[in-house]
Symmetry: D2
Subunit: 100 residues, 4 copies
Amino acid sequence: MDKFLHEHPITPRTESEKKAVVNRLKRIEGQVRGIQKMVEEDRYCVDILVQISAINAALKKVGYTVAERHMKYCVSHAVQSGEGNDMIEELMEVMKQISK
Amino acid sequence: MDKFLHEHPITPRTESEKKAVVNRLKRIEGQVRGIQKMVEEDRYCVDILVQISAINAALKKVGYTVAERHMKYCVSHAVQSGEGNDMIEELMEVMKQISK
Amino acid sequence: MDKFLHEHPITPRTESEKKAVVNRLKRIEGQVRGIQKMVEEDRYCVDILVQISAINAALKKVGYTVAERHMKYCVSHAVQSGEGNDMIEELMEVMKQISK
Amino acid sequence: MDKFLHEHPITPRTESEKKAVVNRLKRIEGQVRGIQKMVEEDRYCVDILVQISAINAALKKVGYTVAERHMKYCVSHAVQSGEGNDMIEELMEVMKQISK
């Protein structure tokens, strides 16, 4: 996908929506810093791998939240204006990437 | 896996090994902060998903680096002392998690 | 997800759509049989793993084709009748499973 | 990975090991045929996706069984003859593919 169709969601995110996602990302940021510390303290490899796997799961969860909202607002809106298919293909492309 | 067998890798990480991993994690931390900003600026959902997918890929890469080193040092050492199988099972368990 | 909302797609698959998917599944079926043979011939583990990974990729591709068609027909139709959100949640649930 | 180092596992699979893996693959083959039937009967997209996701999970499980055995026999053997690292790198390469 080399070009995005939009700058913003069709229906703007509410402040509470933004806050919920940002809070989850802040937690993830903290977890990433936590792993840096583990590496610096030369902690056991498998403990580090467990943390990495937890962050990956948390990030995917954020991704699914974003994707679901995208479908409920942007894609649905596009479908109603008869332009759903482009947006569906755009979304499928990125879902393939995320699921890797 | 509810219990880890070790506190540290059998062969300590060198300073340059630590630095290489920490640098990659710092970059990932920056990317996570970048997504927070995108959410706050109400950026387009698919742009955010593309970033999430990039971070996941970067994290997995760190994971594979850690796992490979674990096999070359810790697991190999355990194999040579006749205790490889426990460590192999421990590693497989966490690889299943990471690959999700 | 413990209950499916429909027995069939809202717009029936055409014969050529069915044939295209079935052909890909027949190829996958042949690949699975190929691995059985490899195991019986006691072939090298990594060769078998490479084949398993190829089948997984092929299956996911079929999954994305089915999901994309589902969005273009069933979900789009539901959106137009004002019942899109249930179907979107149903789809997200199964996408999470597939991406594991 | 464009070249495999071996034709066979270092320690041959026993008949019962072979049978266990082949049986699981036969079940997977049956599941793939089951999806073909679902497509021919024009069954609901999400039902088909659920089945695809079940097969992917089953295949990955076979993959992990094969990989674990590979580590316990082939990789361990290579480690003991001082040639572990090549085989570890070969394995990591294919694990990255499988986890996609």
